[in-house]
Amino acid sequence: MKKILLVLLLSGLLFACGGNEDKDTPAEEEVQEQVDNMEEAADKAGEAIEDAAEDVAEEAEETTEKVKEAVTGESTKSTNGGWTGKVVKMTDFLSGNYETLSVARVKELVMAGQYVGFLSNGTFYMVYNAAGNYDWKGLAKVAGEESVTIQGKVSKVNGISIIMATNIAS
């Protein structure tokens, strides 16, 4: 569609140029009007080209991201509003039977090599802090709360969903 528009605009521009030849002795105003028309047509053509280029670039970026995710299992997106969910034990997420957690219980689990994470909209996230460490302590503080909000950057690495958290609040 944009290509057709572009072709039409360029045709208009050429037509406008051609129209100038028919005038043997054009008045100064007519010349100015034609120059203005040509400039306007050129501007529109330029805008159409820029829009088309932006669309192509956006599509290429989205496609690259999807292909990257499909091939390497990696993707990244940021969130300002945050993700809402609750703290759960990883193995409970797999079994579907959820244990009620507390600060002490989370510590006990992690010290026994069992991991907790954040369940939001059916997805289990491992939560990391800005330093890149597994932030079980941040999760422990809000364990047992029905509604926890985490802000940060969400990524998917090797099939595992993670949040690099900037804020954890209940």
């Binding site: 599509e59 496609t63 999807k66 499909a70 990883m90 193995t91 997420f93 797999l94 079994s95 992690v110 010290m111 026994a112 090599g113 069992q114 991991y115 997805t123 289990f124 491992m126 990391y128 890149g132 460490n133 597994y134 079980w136 302590k137 990524s155 690495v157 090797n158 099939g159 595992i160 969903s161 993670i162």
Partner: protein, 115 residues
């Protein structure tokens, strides 16, 4: 053309999603090594030795098993993460026998042997 491209992308995504939600049961042995999840997430994939694995475990940092570029959580028959076995075998390649599964976005092994 654009619509066709978008339709193909959506179809591929739906098929991929369906596959990742599918349970894949396979009785097999996987050879790999113990890794730190944090290191994997920041793309500094390095094999860790037993001492480092113990250090990470004590700090509550997550460990996993990496085989052929894939990360697996390892569980025992009781359904608990078998972090202690990952620590025990850290520092070199080893083979885990058991049931390999893929569900809810996770790859995991229900282990019954370590060699």
């Amino acid at each position: 053309m654009k619509k066709l491209f978008v339709a193909i992308l959506i179809s591929v995504s739906v098929m991929g999603l369906a596959l990742t939600q599918m349970d894949i049961n396979a009785q097999s042995g996987l050879t790999g090594t113990t890794v730190s999840l944090s290191s994997e997430f920041i793309n500094s994939s390095v094999s860790i030795d037993k001492e480092r694995a113990v250090e990470l475990y004590k700090a509550g940092q997550a460990l996993a098993f990496k085989s052929n570029g894939k990360l697996y959580f390892v569980m025992n028959a009781a359904g608990n993460l078998d972090t202690k076995s990952l620590i025990k075998h850290a520092g070199g390649d080893y083979t885990i026998g058991g049931s390999v599964k893929s569900a809810k976005g996770f790859n995991y092994i229900i282990a019954n042997s370590y060699n």
